[in-house]
């Protein structure tokens, strides 16, 4: 292997003196200091609001604008009659690199839909927010556009979303009552199947 010798440049006298360098450093920091200080003062007086004095966003009072392709918490899109668009094809479960999606499929009474998820859980404590699930879904049934960023909890259990929270992103833990009409398995019912298709039909009428 060829050896390449890199020589360090000798410092010049002025550089060794260090003082000019300190002064140029001070010039930079002072420029920022006075510019920002003046802007802060101007902002207090209601002036120059279009110039930002700092790059800081005062989250949560001032949320950062999200890019349109930003991946936030998942949601399941919903049909008109209040059932999920998802047909339980398990492609998202398959593609998920973190293996955090759990789907149990069931028979839908409409043979043109045929299949739907009885259970749909995402463990956000494990999810890596890659968005593959969204990309792979053939039904546009799962999206990451809820705009929810503040996913935090005191226990691993609470990081798990079930079909309620996925279908209704406005829901926050603790989810009060189980209001989904179609037969499904959720944590509120302790894993028991709850709901019936008659309820769905009557709700539509």
């Amino acid at each position: 292997m060829a050896v390449k010798v890199v020589r360090r440049r000798e410092l010049t006298f002025w550089e060794k003196l260090y003082i000019p360098q300190i002064l140029s450093g001070l010039k930079i920091t002072s420029k920022h200091f006075f510019r920002n200080l003046l802007l802060h003062i101007a902002h207090r007086l209601g002036l120059l609001k279009h110039l930002r004095a700092s790059v800081t966003y005062q989250y949560p009072e001032e949320p950062r604008p999200l890019m349109s392709r930003f991946r936030s918490r998942h949601r399941l899109t919903v049909r008109d009659e209040g059932t999920p668009r998802c047909v339980g094809c398990m492609l998202c479960e398959t593609v998920c690199p973190a293996k955090c999606i759990t789907i149990l499929a069931g028979e839908h009474p409409d043979p043109n839909v045929e299949k739907y998820p009885v259970r749909f859980d995402i463990d956000l404590g494990v999810c890596v927010y890659c968005g593959y699930c969204v990309e792979v879904c053939p039904e546009d049934a799962i999206r990451m556009d809820s705009g929810i960023l503040d996913v935090a909890a005191y226990s691993r259990e609470e990081m798990k979303l079930d079909i309620h929270e996925l279908m209704n992103p406005a829901l926050r833990k603790p989810v009060g009552e189980c209001n989904l009409p179609f037969p499904h398995q959720c944590r509120l019912t302790g894993g028991q199947i709850k709901g019936s298709w008659e309820e769905v039909a009557s709700g539509r009428r």
Binding site: H32, N36, S54, V55
Partner: protein
């Protein structure tokens, strides 16, 4: 009796002012760095919804420090461990006694020097106090019974002793010029005008000494770029085993020393409480105009002038702290012994020669 009361009053004023400024420094530190770095800085602590630009954070800090558990290492030396931070703070505070913060005040026939302790050897006294501060540091390192702390203490000691020498020699030139160790006299001497126009401040007659002094004094405070004894997030230092208010005391010492250095810089090189062209009876401008002021106004203007100068230096040191990267230890030692020390000595020799040549005053 009244004399004692006056002295006590002065001491209280200095004590109050300095400690508050030190407390405020934690806020300045945060806010100034934030503004330099395009941030906002701590602004969340509030009382009844008032945030006051984050001014409550120092208060919150104090509450936190006082309520935190005070941990003494099981095998450490309990007495010394407790004594060390007290040493540090005590000597740092005691030094302020000799700083003159205004001209003499005539009150009811009394002459009150605006200086807690009028000492003939004020300068020596201050340096003695600052040197004693080393004990706090080395004791902290030693009493913690922690290898890292001990090494940190040794680093700090080596650094402080090395730079004290340059510091001491740097001001000899000043003493040669002004012929006094009494700070009040020294400040008065700076009130003269050079050629009728330029105030005869230390910076004018001893610019080299000023740079050496500021550099060495900053090194004494153990703050960036000289924070090798203890570098908050990355270098374990002598107070690693301290928690709660004892830790707070070391922190306070840092700020007190910074203020001390600012006071010294103002007093020695920037005319202390002098206001250019202001004589006890009013302004006498070199272009011939004059403007009389009352005695009280004169004294208060002096105090204000001194305070402003100190605040400026505090700001400058803070700015430096957020501008410069840290030295490496060998660079630090090299700078002290091979840079500042010879320069300071040369400064003394040159000053002495010039003075001798100027008129053989000595």
């Amino acid at each position: 009796m009244i004399d004692v009361a006056i002295k006590l009053g002065l001491a209280m004023v200095v004590f109050f002012g300095v400690l508050n400024l030190a407390g405020l420094h934690t806020w300045i530190e945060r806010k100034q760095s934030a503004i330099i770095q395009d941030r906002i800085g701590a602004n969340r602590a509030s009382i009844f919804g008032f945030k006051l630009l984050g001014l409550f954070h120092p208060l919150a800090d104090a509450v936190k420090m006082f309520t935190k558990e005070d941990i003494i290492p099981a095998r450490g030396d309990k007495v010394l461990h407790t004594l060390a931070p007290a040493f540090s703070v005590f000597f740092a505070l005691a030094a302020f006694a000799a700083i003159p913060f205004g001209d003499r005040l005539m009150l009811g026939g009394r002459v009150i020097e605006l200086q807690v302790a009028k000492l003939d050897v004020a300068l020596l006294y201050i340096f003695a106090m600052l040197s004693l501060g080393v004990y706090g540091v080395i004791l902290a390192g030693f009493a913690s019974r922690n290898n890292y702390a001990l090494l940190g203490g040794l680093r700090a000691t080596a650094q402080m002793i090395s730079y004290e020498i340059a510091l001491g020699i740097a001001i000899i030139g000043l003493i040669l010029v002004y012929q006094t160790l009494d700070l009040q006299d020294l400040v008065r001497a700076q009130g003269k005008l050079l050629g009728g126009w330029i105030p005869l401040w230390g910076i004018v007659v001893q610019p080299v000494a000023f740079f050496v002094f500021v550099t060495a004094a900053l090194a004494e405070t153990k703050r960036i770029p000289f924070d090798l004894p203890e570098g908050e997030s990355e270098i374990i230092g002598y107070f690693v085993e301290y928690s709660g208010m004892k830790f707070g005391m070391f922190f306070l010492t840092d700020f007190l020393e910074t203020i001390m250095v600012a006071c010294l810089a103002a007093t020695l090189f920037f005319g202390g409480w002098q206001v250019p062209y202001l004589m006890p009876d009013g302004f006498h401008f070199p272009w011939g105009g004059s403007f009389a002021v009352s005695h009280w106004t004169y004294v208060l203007m002096g105090v204000a002038s001194f305070s402003l100068k100190v605040l400026f230096f505090c700001w400058l040191f803070m700015q430096l702290r957020w501008t410069l990267p840290r030295f490496r230890y060998d660079q630090l030692m090299k700078l002290g012994w091979l840079g500042l020390f010879p320069v300071a000595v040369a400064n003394v020799v040159v000053t002495a020669s010039v003075l001798y040549w100027l008129g053989g005053r000595n």
